[in-house]
């Protein structure tokens, strides 16, 4: 019996292949975009985990000397006093145009690092003698290894899958040669097993500072907001995809009512039918989900390199650009597909199960269900109010997203009532009978199309919102770059000594030399980089202060005050007038807050003299050089020649700006790609809705046709209707998008990146989007219109004759 019933149920799909295709595509699209985002996120997280395991970040305390490297003797002092610490020497290593992170650990004393364990357990395990003694071995990811091999002058390379893509791991003895830092240690990792009694750090090495994991840069936490952003987009796409599923399943159920009624009349219980339909839906969901996974894998693979670039540029987090297939990801994707499909089919299934056995099989042509529309709108208002309330009362990033979700879904629910109102208005104004009919008919179509239009509204609003945010950001960022990068050249010396020499050499040749000295300190909100600056008009004139106390520069230059960046200001709620403890005993008043984009960490600026007091002995290796711009190129060349500096050690302002802008653009490539994809899905949702409505359209069209409108006229009207509805939706999406961008700029960005941006509007972008939308609607309506054009009159005539 089950078999027979199933056969009957499935026969529907054989007769409605397009419908089946639409359903599967809907599920696949929903699952695909969602799982693409998931794949990107989990790939990134896996990379962070790898990196953190490798660097022992987030797990172990560290000892550092803020003023510079630690000598080996200090390490031995600590060891001989019982301190169980492991030495790490690390630094950037140049590979042509690229810089990678070279990390040398004491492979004898360091806790088991994943990459080393992996190397030991591999078939071609390296000889420890080779690892530890000259020339040594270096470990690198399979992405990096070929690049390193080209280098030629490096020790033999071992590939490791446990390493992040831009990290070279080696023994500290090898690292000191490669980095040319003989006898230096960057940091000491405090191992977990310490002997029962060890003397206090201040008794052995008072210059060292202990950093707990919480004060270190935690990539996971830092990038969390970025991933939350992506997840939100993934969910949006998922929801939009479900609109398609909802529409298709609804139609399929409506069309099968007759069949189901007959089966029930023949003695098949409703229970059994519901169970079988559930099984059928699950089966379809699994197939659609599998298609979606393939799609998602593909999309993620295409987007991942850009995501990796973004994360590297923005947070310095390294993410592998290669995708790997994770079983738990696939399982989650299928589960989402099934859950989503059942959710989207819930209403249809429930209605079916409530259907009295004797109800006719007819599809109600349309009903003007004004009360339902009003109820939906009310729910929308409540959602908007709820989101706003949540944000106002709780605050924070999550509440920001709740606000966004409330606004978006609320506005979507308000859409049918708004559109219906607008259409009624037009209908009342309409003169000709055809116009009147068209408006009325559009209103009639609304219930069937509203889900798709909601999807369109969401996609458009997201596009406008995110687009406005990105463009505002771009404008602000470029302006800020101009303000911030005021020196013509930026020079990095090899060491303090050379820094001195360069500075002396430059003195008579240029307008001004601005030494940039920096030390890393710790603040309760994370690492804090302290910069020392000299008094120069350029700071007073150009430095991008957001807010400041009076006499800010005098206070800073005389060593009485400190400037902090916006990130630190917002994170720690510090503003002019507050005080900041830079190191024990060094408390300064905050005189101003400056904007500092593209940098995740906290920063502070004091006068050079003040920095010398706080962290004596810090190296001065970086300089800004002010001079006539036209002489900059020549000076750069001369500097390189004179001091035998590599290309990248003397950088032009223009090059720096270009690089910053490039990083910026990459940052939002993913967002825009997801945006476009979401819009595409929304377009597809319109198409499926129109196809779904197709059978219901005939009784609407046939009388008009019979009264003397030909099919080409009707087809044109059909196109126009779709375009008009899309246009109206786009008009309503504009204010929503602007609200969205406002929330993104003033709420989400502040929470995620730590900075707040002014909002700029870009009407030309809207126009472009508007045209794109109309085009999408036109394409979506093209298929039904073509169908109408080709429809045999006999099919139209059947409306009047056959029993329906």
């Amino acid at each position: 019996m089950t078999r027979t019933v199933l056969q009957a149920l499935l026969s529907h799909w054989r007769a409605h292949r397009l419908q089946l295709g639409t359903l599967l595509i809907g599920i696949a699209l929903a699952t695909g975009l969602w799982s693409a985002v998931q794949a990107i996120n989990s790939e990134a997280r896996a990379s962070y985990a790898r990196a953190n395991a490798q660097l022992a970040l987030g797990q172990l305390d560290e000892l550092r000397d803020p003023t510079g490297p630690i000598p080996i003797a200090r390490y031995v002092d600590l060891r001989r006093a019982g301190w169980q610490v492991a030495a790490v020497l690390e630094g950037p290593y140049r590979l042509g145009t690229r810089s990678v992170h070279l990390m040398g650990v004491d492979m004898v004393a360091y806790p088991a690092l994943p990459a080393i364990v992996e190397a030991e357990q591999s078939a071609a395990a390296p000889d420890p003698a080779d690892m530890l003694t000259a020339p040594g071995r270096i470990l690198a990811s399979s992405e990096l290894a070929p690049l390193l091999r080209e280098q030629g002058d490096l020790p033999p390379i071992l590939e490791s899958s446990a390493l992040p893509p831009d990290v070279i791991l080696t023994d500290i003895g090898v690292a000191e040669t490669l980095l040319d830092q003989q006898g230096d240690i960057s940091r000491l990792v405090v191992l977990s097993d310490q002997p029962r009694l060890v003397p206090a750090l201040s008794d052995i090495a008072p210059e060292l500072q202990r950093f707990s994991p919480s004060s270190q840069v935690d990539t996971d936490q830092l990038t969390g907001s970025f991933h939350l952003n992506l997840s939100a987009f993934g969910m949006l796409s998922f929801a939009v995809g479900l609109f398609i599923v909802h529409g298709t399943v609804g139609l399929a159920f409506a069309q099968r009512r007759g069949m189901i009624r007959t089966m029930r009349a023949l003695g098949v219980s409703m229970r059994r039918l519901v169970v079988l339909i559930l099984a059928e839906l699950t089966f379809l969901a699994v197939i659609g989900g599998a298609l979606g996974l393939a799609l998602g894998f593909f999309i993620a693979g295409a987007l991942l390199p850009d995501v990796a670039a973004t994360l590297r540029g923005l947070y310095g987090a390294s993410v592998s650009g290669q995708m790997s297939l994770r079983p738990e990801w696939a399982a989650a994707g299928i589960a989402m597909a099934v859950a989503g499909t059942l959710l989207a089919s819930g209403q249809a299934l429930w209605r079916l199960s409530q259907m009295p056995i004797l109800t006719g099989p007819g599809v109600r042509a349309w009903q003007d269900n004004a009360p339902a529309r009003r109820l939906t709108a009310l729910a929308g208002l409540i959602l908007i109010a709820g989101g706003t309330l949540a944000y106002l009362s709780v605050g924070g990033l999550i509440a920001g997203f709740v606000l966004l979700a409330g606004l978006l879904t609320g506005a979507a629910l308000l859409l049918p009532l708004s559109l219906s109102g607008v259409l009624a208005l037009f209908a009342r104004r309409a003169q000709g009978p055809v116009a009147q009919w068209v408006w009325a008919d559009m209103r009639a179509q609304l219930p069937g199309l509203s889900l798709a239009l909601m999807a369109l509204l969401l996609a458009l609003a997201a596009n406008i919102g995110v687009g406005t945010m990105v463009s505002s950001f771009r404008l602000t960022f470029v302006g800020w770059l101009d303000q911030r990068l005021t020196s013509e050249l930026y020079v990095t010396a090899v060491d303090d000594q050379q820094g001195q020499e360069i500075s002396e050499w430059l003195q008579p040749r240029v307008d001004a030399i601005l030494p940039l000295r920096t030390v890393e300190l710790a603040h309760e909100t994370g690492p804090l980089f302290l910069y020392g600056i000299v008094d120069d008009p350029v700071y007073r004139l150009h430095w991008p202060l957001i807010t400041s106390a009076t006499g800010v520069w005098d206070d800073v230059m005389t060593g009485h005050a400190v400037l902090i960046n916006e990130q630190l200001g917002r994170r720690a709620d510090l503003w002019p007038g507050d005080t900041l403890e830079l190191r024990p005993g060094h408390v300064l008043t905050i005189a101003g807050v400056y904007s500092d984009y593209g940098n995740p960490t906290g920063q502070a600026m004091v006068s050079m003299a003040q920095l010398d007091q706080i962290a004596p002995g810090a190296e001065t290796r970086r300089f800004g050089v002010r001079m006539p711009p036209e002489d900059a190129t020549e000076m750069a060349q001369e500097l390189r020649r004179q001091f035998d500096l590599p290309r990248q050690s003397v950088v032009h302002q223009a090059a720096m700006k270009a690089q910053s802008r490039a990083i910026f653009e990459k940052t939002f490539v993913v967002t825009s790609a997801l945006n476009v994809l979401t819009l595409g899905v929304a377009g597809f949702a319109i198409l499926t809705s129109l196809l779904t409505l197709w059978t219901q359209r005939l009784p609407q069209i046939a009388p008009v046709w019979a009264l003397g409108l030909d099919r080409s006229q009707l087809a044109r009207l059909e196109l126009m209707r779709s375009v008009t509805l899309a246009a109206l939706t786009a008009c309503l999406a504009l204010p929503l998008g602007l609200v969205l961008s406002w929330v993104l700029l003033t709420v989400i960005n502040v929470q995620a990146f730590g900075w707040r941006l002014p909002m700029y509007v870009f009407p030309l972008d809207w126009l472009y989007l508007f045209v794109l939308t109309l085009l999408a609607a036109l394409i979506a309506a093209a298929l039904p219109a073509m169908r109408l054009l080709r429809l045999p009159p006999a099919d139209l005539l059947r409306v009047f004759a056959s029993e329906r």
Binding site: R79, D127, E176, Q194
Partner: protein
């Protein structure tokens, strides 16, 4: 004694297969390492210091101690040196690897700790004069080899002891040339078997004043065990009448290889060749997932010795990178006394 202990320890710390390969066809001279020579003339104090040209070396001290309350304790302090290459150099590039093991065995439990370092930077090493051997804050040092202070600590234990030699050095085998298999593998091996030990144990329950007898082994070599040898059982026994016995058995597929040194109360010693001593496990205990003999019958008919040797605590397991059993024992039978037992390869 434990040639392989160190080998495996280093192997466990770093990749294995290359070591296995390197040793598979090892002949006389080992990759530029010196090998022990029959008839070598020891030079002191120089030979108390390290021999970087040899592959492996250790300073191995065990002591049977009694606390004020009359209870028995044991301690171990060991510094191993293993050379990746037969030289020493300054800095991280040093091919000398050092490893320390320290343990305290109480009547109830066994505490242990392990340290690793490389040479060249001063974190670990040894000097002959004044004598010192150290890794991190663990140290065995003194003006000379006869007068030493000893310290070590782990997460929950530690000790500070002073040692005073009571007799002369004892040279095993042929004047310190100790043969390890019938194939001729050998080491340089001497001991100071009679230190008077006094000091304090630091235990979770509190500090404990102790005194007793210590036994220090010095051994270096470049050669591994014979290929068929899977482990060993090593005994250092001090009888109440003042005589001492060092005896070991290397377990091999081709049969056991035994060796022993009888040390009379006056300090004179006599090497006993393969086969003169017999070892019979009497009782095993389940320790760290395996069965380890914790009571033995040891007989040396030449000297009228037929004793039962049993562990103070069966659980004296060193769960270090290379795992083995090392703990104090009590001796009953024809002779009464105390000692230390080391067992590997179980």
């Amino acid at each position: 004694m434990n040639v392989r202990a160190l080998l495996i320890a280093i192997m466990c710390m770093l990749p294995v297969s290359s070591w296995a390969q390197g040793y598979a066809g090892l002949g006389g001279s080992a990759d530029g390492f010196e090998i022990p020579q029959r008839g070598y003339q020891f030079e002191f104090p120089k030979d108390h210091g390290p021999h970087p040209a040899f592959r492996i070396e250790w300073w191995y001290l065990t002591a049977n101690l009694t606390a004020d309350d009359g209870r028995d304790y044991g301690i171990q302090w060991t510094l191993f040196r293993s050379a990746l290459k037969p030289f020493e150099t300054e800095g991280w590039q040093s091919p000398q690897i050092w490893m320390g093991h320290a343990a305290v065995t109480t009547p109830e439990t066994h505490y242990f700790a392990e340290r690793l370092s490389r040479g060249g930077i001063g974190q670990a090493g040894a000097t002959a004069e004044p004598f010192a051997a150290w890794i991190d804050e663990w140290q065995m040092s003194g003006p000379d080899f006869d007068t030493l202070t000893l310290t070590a600590s782990g997460k929950d234990f530690g000790y500070d002891l002073s040692l005073k030699a009571q007799g002369p050095l004892v040279f095993h085998g042929e004047n310190g040339y100790s043969v390890k298999s019938s194939d001729g593998q050998a080491s340089h091996y001497y001991s100071q078997p009679s230190y008077n030990v006094e000091g304090v144990l630091h235990l979770p329950e509190g500090d404990m004043a102790v005194s007793g007898n210590g036994w220090l082994d010095r051994e270096w070599s470049s050669q591994p065990l014979a290929e068929d040898q899977s482990g060993w059982d090593w005994f250092s026994l001090s009888f109440d009448d003042g005589d001492k016995l060092m005896a070991f058995r290397l377990r091999g597929d081709r049969g056991d290889f035994t060796s022993a040194t009888w040390i009379s109360a006056d300090g004179s010693s006599m090497a006993l060749s393969d086969g003169s001593t017999s070892f019979t496990p009497l009782e095993t205990a389940h320790v760290a997932g395996r069965d380890v003999p914790v009571a033995w019958r040891v007989t040396l008919p030449d000297r009228g010795v037929d004793v039962e040797v049993s562990a103070l605590v069966p659980d004296a397991w060193m769960a270090t990178r290379f795992e083995y059993w090392e703990g104090p024992v009590t001796v009953t039978g024809t002779h009464e006394g105390r000692g230390y037992l080391e067992m590997t390869g179980y």
